[in-house]
């Protein structure tokens, strides 16, 4: 008895160490490394280990960089809000189906997650591009005379692509939150004389809000950090904060500045996540 208890204790220790240790090593340590890197001085591509805040100062004093930052925040917030609205409608549609067909629908909606990012991107380019499906259709319909650039190599192109790419990350958490609502609550609403609109307003919507928050955080964090999409469909006009961060590492070889910008990116994501959960708390009135 005592022996098995001791084994249990050891097993518990081992499991906790693994559960806490793996994230610590693979998530916390890299973040700390970034923070540390962001405090070093850059001397023409050479890293000088001298503590300084100049990288942060550079961000806050460079007007172009700030402009890109705020434009990206706005872009990602709009993509997030659009995704939440579209995602909510999709999730609600799936939720309203019979239990058997829900799984099939959820699979269809999340099918994009099973394909490669690059393939999806080229598919979208094929649709939005200069001689893409949309332009060709509009020309065939005599709406426009020649291909227009509204759909490709612009901020709106990035916006459209982000919405399409990240929709599953909204549908899934919102749907899961809905599915967790006990059937009895909906029956109770019906039983008390509620119509479907009451059920949606008073029961389903408030009880799926936590799914909306998760979806919002997912979408914002992922779109804000995404630098491949802007590069592929954004062109010269589609400069985003993620691309700046990337270029500091890949092109400019200014790791300290890149790290500082990465820390700012992370901080922005954390603030958005906190704000979202705060909104949730305020949104649910007793």
């Amino acid at each position: 008895m005592r022996n098995s208890k001791r084994t249990d204790k050891w097993a518990l220790w081992a499991v906790s160490t693994l559960c806490l240790g793996i994230p610590a090593v693979f998530i916390l340590v890299p973040i700390l490394a970034f923070v540390l890197n962001s405090l070093w001085h850059n001397d023409a591509g050479q890293l000088v280990k001298r503590l300084t805040l100049e990288n942060y100062v550079a961000f806050f004093t460079d007007e172009d960089m700030r402009k890109v930052y705020f434009r990206t925040v706005f872009l990602c917030l709009s993509a997030t809000v659009t995704n939440l609205v579209v995602g909510y409608i999709c999730a609600l549609y799936i939720y309203r189906q019979k239990v058997g067909s829900r799984l099939v629908l959820i699979l269809i909606f999340t099918l994009p997650l099973f394909t490669s990012y690059i393939i999806k991107m080229y598919a979208i380019r094929g649709i939005l591009g200069h001689r893409g499906v949309i332009n060709e259709l509009l020309i065939a319909a005599h709406v426009i005379q020649e291909p227009i650039t509204a759909f490709i190599f612009s901020q709106s192109a990035i916006f459209l692509t982000l919405v399409v790419l990240y929709l599953p990350f909204s549908v899934l958490p919102i749907y899961l939150a809905m599915e967790r609502i006990p059937e009895n609550l909906r029956l109770a609403s019906d039983d008390l004389g509620g119509k479907e609109s009451h059920e949606l307003k008073h029961i389903i919507f408030p009880l799926s809000l936590n799914g909306v928050v998760v979806a919002a955080v997912f979408t914002f964090v992922m779109t804000f950090g995404d630098f491949v999409t802007p590069q592929m469909v954004g062109g010269i006009d589609g400069y985003t904060f993620g691309r700046i961060v990337y270029s500091q590492f890949g092109v400019a070889l200014n790791w300290p500045l890149g790290s500082a910008l990465a820390v700012i990116l992370l901080a922005t994501s954390v603030v958005v996540a906190l704000l979202s959960s705060l909104l949730l708390k305020l949104g649910v009135s007793r």
Partner: protein, 365 residues
């Protein structure tokens, strides 16, 4: 209840899931202000009846009549019944006040009137002062009261209660029984109460419907079900009973005295069953408390005392028939009625008043 008025009628309701029948030819009336309990073991179909009443399920066959009108196709939200769910189904994100007021909110009742009515109902169920709390911040009994308050606020014709006491501990259950019965009297509307607990049923009901395997076994007052069970199942489900198999020896078979030939010889029993024709195989049910023990074994049936258990107010004496020791009897005696000289192994005479034994047709033996 003077001249009970039939409010609701289930007319020949059948329900099956695929090939499996769960309800077979249910005919049942609910009167205007009665406390009706549907009692049965799990799987007997009692909850299905409630679901059909509430509109959650559709009957495969038969109709539900409200004041003579067919309401089988009436949507859930238009039926003048409200349900207290087994797990209460309180809205977890709403305060007690909002939960209770929900039925009025969806009916578009104005704020001032709504608040006033909510206050009244919250006071009726004794939850004044708890109205700002969330369901998670309440005890089981309080949640139960919220569920009831939420159901009564729209002044339904019938309250449907689906095993609402199952989740409570025993002490609280007794208290809630009293509370529910009191509420039903006070509101003067019909309660249809589902349970598998015969104690609850006996304590609260005006009438009890005993269900078994999707069929109604017997409908009656608690007293009549206890005193005059019509089936073996009812006889054993309500309290303890001694059941003796036998054959009808004589009698006219309708509310008359019949003699039943059993292994114990002829027993004179009251018949409440028209099926007890001469020669019919029946069982005789004798309640343990109706059996008398006599020191003189030559009077009555000679039995050997197998065991005596003392349980405070009463002694429970287990007996076996001397002529056929496989036949066991149980007898419950108040202390003063147990002859002091008797002990385990003694032979005693067993008797009962002829009217206290009941003949049960063996249709479900």
């Amino acid at each position: 209840m003077q001249t009970p008025q039939e409010l609701l009628k289930l007319d020949n309701i059948c329900k099956s899931y695929g090939q499996t029948p769960v309800l077979k030819n249910i005919n049942l009336s609910v009167y205007g202000n009665e406390f009706l309990t549907i009692l049965g073991p799990s799987g007997s179909g009692k909850t299905t009846i409630l679901k059909i009443l509430a509109g959650f399920e559709e009957a495969t066959q038969g109709v539900v009549l409200l004041n003579g009108q067919d309401i089988s196709d009436m949507p859930i939200n238009r039926r003048p019944f409200n349900t207290v769910f087994q797990d209460y189904a309180l809205f977890p994100h709403m305060s007690v006040r909002k939960n209770v007021g929900y039925g009025l909110i969806v009916r578009g009742v104005g704020r001032a009137q709504r608040e006033k009515r909510v206050d009244e109902v919250i006071e009726t169920v004794g939850l004044t002062g708890f109205d700002k709390r969330l369901p998670a911040e309440l005890s089981g009994g309080q949640r139960q009261r919220v569920a009831l308050a939420r159901a009564i606020i729209c002044q339904p014709r019938i309250i449907l209660l689906d095993e609402p006491l199952a989740a409570l501990d025993v002490a609280l259950r007794g208290q809630m029984c009293k509370f529910l019965k009191g509420m039903q009297r006070r509101l003067d509307i019909a309660f249809v109460f589902i349970t598998h607990d015969q104690q609850e049923a006996i304590a609260m009901s005006d009438r009890i419907v005993v269900m078994r395997d999707g069929e109604i076994e017997q409908i009656g007052t608690p007293e009549s079900l206890y005193a005059e069970p019509q089936t073996r199942f009812v006889a054993e489900f309500f309290g303890e009973n001694n059941l003796l198999d036998g054959v009808v020896h004589s009698g006219d078979g309708t509310w008359a005295e019949v003699e039943v030939e059993t292994d114990m010889g002829y027993l004179t029993c009251k018949s409440n069953n028209t099926a007890t024709a001469v020669g019919a195989r029946v069982a005789v049910a004798v309640r343990p408390e109706n059996i008398d023990l006599l020191e003189d074994a030559s009077r009555g049936y000679a039995c050997k005392i197998e065991d005596i258990q003392y349980s405070g107010a009463t002694y429970i004496v287990e007996l076996s028939l001397q002529k056929a020791s496989q036949i066991k009897l149980k007898c419950r005696l108040h202390g003063s009625r147990l002859p002091p000289a008797l002990g385990v192994g003694d032979i005693v005479g067993v008797t009962w008043a002829p009217g206290s034994a009941v003949v049960i047709g063996k249709r479900d033996a």
